[in-house]
Subunit: 512 residues, 2 copies
């Protein structure tokens, strides 16, 4: 039987439009639910953000876990803690929503711990006292009290708190999407598992242990990672890779005791100067890393990846203006190009005191914390070895402890180099896998504008720990506003990003 | 009449020996008094050291002044406060002991304020909780309770507290010498005035005002400054000059807000790297200042001064061993040579955080505090101008405020340079003045070993403020142990140095 082409085309168009209609209708149901429940969602989020969540704060980190267990229990997700054995290690939290007949399993990942922060550096509010502002601090946002039931909530408001974006927003968006789906009588299209990590910001030192201890439980076709910011343009994005990351603590030494700068200055070595010279030697004037071999191992991008980068909005000039920058490092290379290269960042540098506490002394030590980002092809241990070789080449005796008297007297230059625990390599998933196409389609369906697809994020997640222990792939679907002050003081989320994130997470659970 | 030479010589020898005997007897009376009153002296000193004494702490600085007034009143020194007008400015304290028939007037100077300090950096004790230790911390000294009356006091014990050496030890030695002289029925040979400053460590910003406001009251043939440490060898010393001093705050800038080091690292400029490069440019690998003209204005030393330096004990190797140093800056030049040159020291340097608070961010700023020491010939404003010219030469737009948006967007490199108030120039008194010889003889008479005479100290005092406002000269007679951790945490005084200091101050008041 011959079916007329016209008939086929019309059928296909009708079917496609039905799918589009269904997706649009699903999305509007999620949106309706959120709109009717904004006050309650905000209240639940504020409660979650009120608990300090630095991974090393054993007591509070478990208070966070207990609250999330309770939130998941209310949603019928059968939550449980996954322990790494030791009670001082933050537990991961697992839950699931199984669907009869589903042939696919996805895990939605977020982390509930946050970066350490110095409360003194926050403006006007404290890290774990969630505070609503009428706009961002930079735009002159003023503090608002939490809206009472019935009062209008402006989606441009910002909620300020540690992890408001990174990454309790992920936990909140995922759990609110579940709640909305259930309230609207909708079901996922995949078996959905939930995994909330508790020490991502501390380097995920025990994630491998936890996964290996629950390998069957954590099997999935894909881990979908809800973490990080959307594109600087405001467009939603799906990111197929992350950079690796590792940290190094570096300390150099002056005299054994602090010395009067008048009586000993310019005779007794000043460790601040020693550190300044050493750090200066690691990068050239343009900010290019000068450590031998630093860029050698980089796996070149494929054609698909290069095209994705070319298609992504180029926002460098806008960001420079927003950040107040008249120059960038590695001048000539765009931000998107540079995140496909390994980096070396000085997170912090300290010697003696500055400001009101400064005294006329020669400090005894000078320290820096270095952040090494890695791309596909790099090995984190190899990069650290190169760093150490470079420090040796500058004439330093490299040790991993404070120097003994004997070491001090026999080595003109001493550097203590401590490679922090929890480093990991980069990870990248092919952008043309069927499941990758489904994720792209699901996220695209929630957005009127074209979404951005990137081979890698600038940020890091321990995704290589997941893929090296499980046969799965990872994709990252971030939701936070890009100017969220992630990892710094005054972290915040723009409410519209949280609202959009709920729809994105619901779309992933119900994707074709 | 012809007098036989033999007779003349015998007469001279007898006279000299009588003087020596008298001096020795005076000294032993002071020593006896101290030995009989050590517990009470220590108790009074502990009370004085218990009051926080940072010059900017208006409330506590006046509590110090009130206590010192009370101590001077008990000794009959007719004390009064000398104000600079503003009640937030620390007052100086004046007193006097006039002697009928005296033809000479000296002022004994000490300061009662101390350097700011971070209590967290003190080991085991707090800055204003004076604590006795059985030896120095470095030598494993353990904490002792204050000895009860009758219990033996070991002169090698150390008293730990902010200003235990610098410079409440000066106040205490001077006032205890007065008390001992009066108790033993002895009188000064000069009219003695007392001047205790309250903001020396804050740069003596108002000292000029105070002196100009009380010019007649503060007239004297010499100001004798009791501040700083004795020679590293333990020998007593008289120092005829001080270096000038001034401080500069330096800040460089990255993006307007802290940025995630993964998303923006190696694209957005890192201010810690910028500062490291800038500081590195100021000194060569050997620690020699590379700023154009830095050493140009130095007034060369005279023959007397050069000889005094040559005669002084050379202690560099011993100090290097004690400090755990395998190298020194400006290699080849001795410490005594180098303190006769202008210096540039990094007091402190800070960007972001290190240690447990470190986060994977690009900091927004990086700051340093610089200490510039000056020698005879230098002008402090001229040295700061050279520093600023150097910073400009490195490509920086130099401003004295945080940059505006417009400044940020038009200048690739911006440095905020703030020249702190209270700078002053170096000062040097001729070592062959009659009064200089009297001071040398008086101090030498209290010591069995040869004392050290130096043209300048490495440290600074605002002596040029004194000599530019009064027709007088200055000489410095320090008493503290050289390893007193002056200006740093764990400041302390060795009790024997305090005991010796009392005898030295009594000797100055009774000098021929």
């Amino acid at each position: 039987m011959k079916i007329p082409l016209r008939f086929v085309l019309v059928t296909i168009l009708l079917a496609a439009s039905a799918v589009r209609y269904e997706v649009a209708s699903q999305q509007s149901k999620i949106r309706d639910y959120r709109a009717a429940n904004e006050h309650r969602i905000l209240e639940e989020f504020v409660t979650l953000l009120s608990i300090p969540n630095v991974a090393s704060d054993h007591v509070n980190i478990r208070r966070n876990a207990a609250l999330i267990i309770e939130m998941m229990r209310r949603r019928g997700l059968e939550p449980r803690l996954l322990e790494a054995g030791n009670s001082t290690v933050p537990p991961a939290i697992y839950g699931e929503w199984k669907v009869p007949g589903a042939t696919r399993t996805i895990i939605l990942y977020a982390h509930y711990d946050g970066q350490p922060t110095d409360p003194k550096q926050w403006v006007g509010t404290m890290p774990w006292q969630p505070t609503l502002r009428s706009a961002s601090l930079e735009a002159g946002g003023t503090i608002l009290s939490l809206p009472k039931s019935g009062e209008k909530i402006d989606p441009e408001w910002r909620l300020y708190a540690r992890s408001a974006s990174d990454d309790k927003a992920g936990v909140m968006a995922i759990l609110t999407a579940v709640e909305a789906l259930k309230a609207q009588g909708m079901s996922p299209t995949s078996n959905v598992k939930f995994f909330f990590e508790g020490e991502e910001e501390a380097g995920s030192s025990h994630l491998g242990n936890i996964i290996r201890g629950h390998q069957k439980l954590l099997e999935a076709d894909a881990w979908l990672i809800c973490d990080g910011p959307v594109h600087q343009s405001g467009l939603k994005q799906v990111v197929f890779g992350v950079r690796g990351d590792t940290n190094v603590d570096l300390t150099v030494y002056g005299a054994r005791r602090p010395l009067h700068s008048g009586h000993y200055g310019n005779w007794s070595p000043n460790p601040a100067l020693t550190l300044a010279k050493l750090l200066s030697s690691m990068k050239d004037e343009a900010g290019r890393v000068t450590i031998a071999g630093w860029y050698d191992d980089v796996a070149p991008l494929g054609e698909t990846e290069r095209r994705a980068i070319e298609e992504a909005p180029q926002y460098d000039n806008e960001i420079k203006t927003q950040l107040g920058l008249a120059r960038t490092e590695n001048a000539g290379k765009s931000l998107l190009e540079l995140i496909n290269e390994p980096s070396l960042n000085i997170n912090g540098m300290s010697s003696g005191d500055v400001g009101a506490l400064a005294r006329n002394v020669i400090p005894t030590t000078a320290s820096a914390v270095l952040d090494l980002r890695l791309v596909k092809g790099n090995d984190y241990q190899r990069q650290v070895d190169r760093l150490i070789a470079h420090i040796r080449k500058q004439g330093f005796h490299v040790i991993d402890h404070d120097p003994t008297d004997q070491e001090r007297l026999t080595n003109p230059l001493i550097a203590k180099v401590v490679h922090r625990e929890g480093g990991y390599n980069a990870e990248r998933t092919r952008m043309d896998l069927p499941l990758a196409l489904s994720v792209i389609a699901a996220v695209q369906a929630t957005s009127a504008k074209p979404i951005v697809k990137l081979p890698t994020s600038g940020g890091s997640l321990p995704l290589s720990i997941i893929t090296s222990n499980l046969r799965t792939v990872t994709m990252t679907v971030p939701i936070a506003n890009y100017d969220n002050n992630q990892h710094a003081e005054n972290e915040n989320i723009r409410l519209q990003n949280l609202w959009d994130g709920i729809e994105t997470m619901a779309a992933l659970m119900t994707m074709r």
